[in-house]
């Protein structure tokens, strides 16, 4: 049986199913016992699994994420909630030098299976320290897998995959896509039919949300949904956009990106992360180093510019990669 679910409920189902069956999984993070994690992925788990397996921590991110890494080395599979990716600043060493590299530095002798749930993104006027994406920053770390579902079906399937992975997996969700109470009415395109039974969605494969022939629009997290909105607009104007969700940054499905651009000859890369030294450059380069003649027109980036996120709505709305900017870019590409 399948139902229409939010990403939040879908992710919760995957974690619940795995926790019921695998005693090595436990949850850790600020307020997870009472609040169930930033996206409700652990909603009700405090009561169900008890304080030994659903552990609310002090505000000590280096400490508890480092402890998760240690617990993983000792045979557990921790699921850690870091709430906002803006907070990686206080615990980045664990991501950069410990959880990601221990398997390698030990020549394969030690494994660090753990899943780190982090919320990304802005668009709700939470200003420069609570609105960042920074997915490029974590994707640049070798030894960490980085995935980023944008809809409920993928949220459940990719979380099952993460929980069965033997590695450190950074599991990102854009706050605006999750379908949690404090972000208003869920975005339609984040909802999906979700089977009740467990299933996995493999890492490292793009998802083509919508096929098209004129222009490829890649996105991830929220920018997928802005791209879909733009594609709807463009369709009315006779422009056929193919919307490609990257879904997984490490591993990255380079073939999937190239295949779409080989078909359309035009590329718009949308990204809510800062523009430079990030995902947008990597996607364009992926095509260019394969074959620059695939581009009928120069590819275009529609991203957050290289500026801190401003608080006031008129400024924030102007700098985010929203549907209007994406559609404009497509129109220019087709002109």
């Amino acid at each position: 049986m399948s139902r229409i679910l939010t990403m939040s409920r879908a992710g919760r189902e995957a974690l619940d199913w795995e926790m019921e069956r695998r005693p090595e999984i436990f949850c850790l993070g600020e307020d997870v016992f009472k609040f169930g994690g930033i996206f409700g992925t652990m909603d009700g788990f405090g009561a169900k699994y008890g304080p030994e397996r659903v552990i609310s921590t002090p505000i000590s991110e280096t400490g508890f994420i480092g402890m998760a890494a240690g617990a993983a080395m000792a045979g557990m599979h921790p699921v850690v909630d870091l709430a906002y990716i803006d907070f990686i600043g206080v615990c980045y060493n664990v991501l950069l030098n410990c959880a990601s590299k221990t398997h390698y530095m030990s020549g394969g002798a030690v494994k660090v299976p753990m899943t780190l749930l982090i919320g990304t993104g802005g668009g709700y006027n939470n200003a420069a320290q609570h609105s960042q994406c920074l997915h490029a920053t974590v994707a640049h770390i070798p030894g960490a897998k980085v995935v980023y579902p944008s809809n409920a079906y993928d949220a459940k399937g990719m979380l099952h995959t993460a929980l069965r992975d033997e590695n450190f997996v950074i599991f990102l969700t854009h706050k605006g896509t999750a379908g949690v109470g404090w972000m208003g009415t869920p975005i339609k395109t984040t909802l999906s039919e979700v089977p009740e039974e467990p299933y996995t969605v493999p890492f490292g494969k793009v998802k083509v949300y919508r096929e098209g022939t004129d222009v490829t629009i890649t996105g991830l997290g929220m920018s997928v949904h802005e791209s879909l909105k733009a594609a709807d607009e463009l369709e009315k104007e006779g422009i056929s956009a193919e919307v490609v969700d990257l879904r997984s940054l490490v591993p990255l499905d380079r073939e999937g990106i190239i295949a779409s651009v080989a078909k359309t000859g035009r590329l718009i890369v949308t990204d809510e992360d800062y523009m430079s030294y990030g995902v947008s450059g990597e996607v364009i380069t992926t095509v260019t180093e394969h074959d620059p003649t695939l581009f009928r027109k120069p590819p275009v980036r529609v991203t957050t510019p290289d500026i801190p996120i401003p608080f006031a709505r008129p400024m924030e709305q102007a700098i985010l990669p929203l549907a209007g900017r994406i559609a404009d870019a497509a129109r220019k590409l087709m002109a």
């Binding site: 609310s56 505000i59 709700y124 420069a128 320290q129 609570h130 608080f311 700098i319």
Partner: protein, 328 residues
């Protein structure tokens, strides 16, 4: 270090103004967010962490300071900012994201900066610890006076930055006061669930700092402890961890139902208590107290009017101030 009656009235005035500020913001916050709650909606969007209940800390401590002293606050900065004398109109405008706001609409409520009164804040837990200590270090090198105060919550005292900075404050005998505002909660986590020992003031021994603990949420007591800490700092005797038992009456942020708070842990509003005390002690009459409150509300109403009437920044201004010294 005894407060005069006039000074104690001042404390009450400060607390009333701070409360008026938050109450006005809370009222506005819900505009556009009902029936469907959403951080991003309405004229006052984003997370909003109000200071209701913590007013005695801002009032009591700032009364012990001089203009040369420096303050950093956290994600819950209003009560400290109001007590410090941050421009009320421009602070209100900043919360609404308006152009005449302190940060021209770029900061919002967690990012209140007013260099004219040496005030800064940050939304990252314990970030202000080092910033305050660095300001104190700067003054030492400059051979200028000034005590620096970092206002944090009891939850923040378990962040690594607390340790690193306290150690350097102790090591270098810097004039820094770490104000730990123990409101019992870090979001939904009680202090007893986050902190291995009962009092952060007791951690001072780990750093060669002095510890002060104030168990009442009363501005007279807070002032007295702060005055002692400031005197030590000015005398070159080093820093203090000053912990105050305070309150968080309106939840972690707006939207927090606080269902996790058991009945016996319900907190008391310190403002009526102080009002009663001042009346009881003959410092204020009930009429004077009413007048102070009315005046605070009126002042805040003007600030709100200013803020509401002010224009938004132009979208293109988002690109200004990324770097100093450069044309936009």
């Amino acid at each position: 270090m005894e407060l005069t009656a006039e000074q104690r009235k001042g404390l009450y005035r400060t607390m009333a103004l701070s409360r008026a500020f938050d109450d006005a913001m809370i009222a506005l916050y819900w505009e556009g967010k009902l029936p469907i709650f959403q951080f991003g909606a309405g004229p006052l969007p984003g997370e909003l962490h109000c200071s209701n209940g913590a007013e005695p800390v801002g009032a009591g401590i700032c009364a012990a300071l001089g203009p040369e002293d420096m303050l950093t606050a956290d994600h819950r900065p209003h009560h400290v900012a109001v007590a410090r004398g941050v421009d009320l109109d421009r602070m209100a405008a900043e919360l609404l994201g308006k152009k005449p706001g302190l940060s021209q609409g770029k900061g919002g409520h967690m990012h209140i900066y007013d260099p004219s009164v040496n005030f800064a804040s940050s939304g990252i837990i314990a970030e202000g610890m080092a910033v305050a200590a660095g300001m104190a270090l700067a003054r030492r090198i400059q051979k200028r006076p000034g005590v620096a105060l970092a206002f944090i919550g009891e939850g923040a005292a378990n962040q690594g930055a607390f340790h690193e900075v306290c150690n350097m404050v102790g090591l270098w005998k810097l004039p820094v006061i770490v104000v730990v505002q123990d409101n019992e909660w870090g979001v939904s986590t009680a202090k007893s669930e986050s902190t291995a020992i009962e009092r952060n003031a007791d951690r001072a021994v780990a750093y060669g700092m002095a510890g002060e603990w104030v168990g009442t949420n009363d501005p007279d007591d807070i002032y007295a402890a702060a005055a002692r800490a400031v005197a030590r700092a000015r005398a070159g005797e080093g820093g203090t961890i000053l912990e105050v038992k305070t309150a968080r009456l309106t939840g972690h942020f707006m939207g927090d139902q606080q269902a996790y708070i058991p009945e016996q842990m319900k907190q008391v509003d310190p403002i009526p208590l102080y009002r009663e005390k001042l009346i009881r002690e003959g410092v204020l009459s009930a009429e004077e107290a009413d007048a102070i409150e009315a005046e605070a509300k009126a002042r805040m109403a003007r600030a709100m009017e200013f803020a509401k009437a002010a224009p938004y920044p132009d979208p293109s201004e988002a690109f200004d101030h990324v770097f100093a010294g450069e044309a936009a």
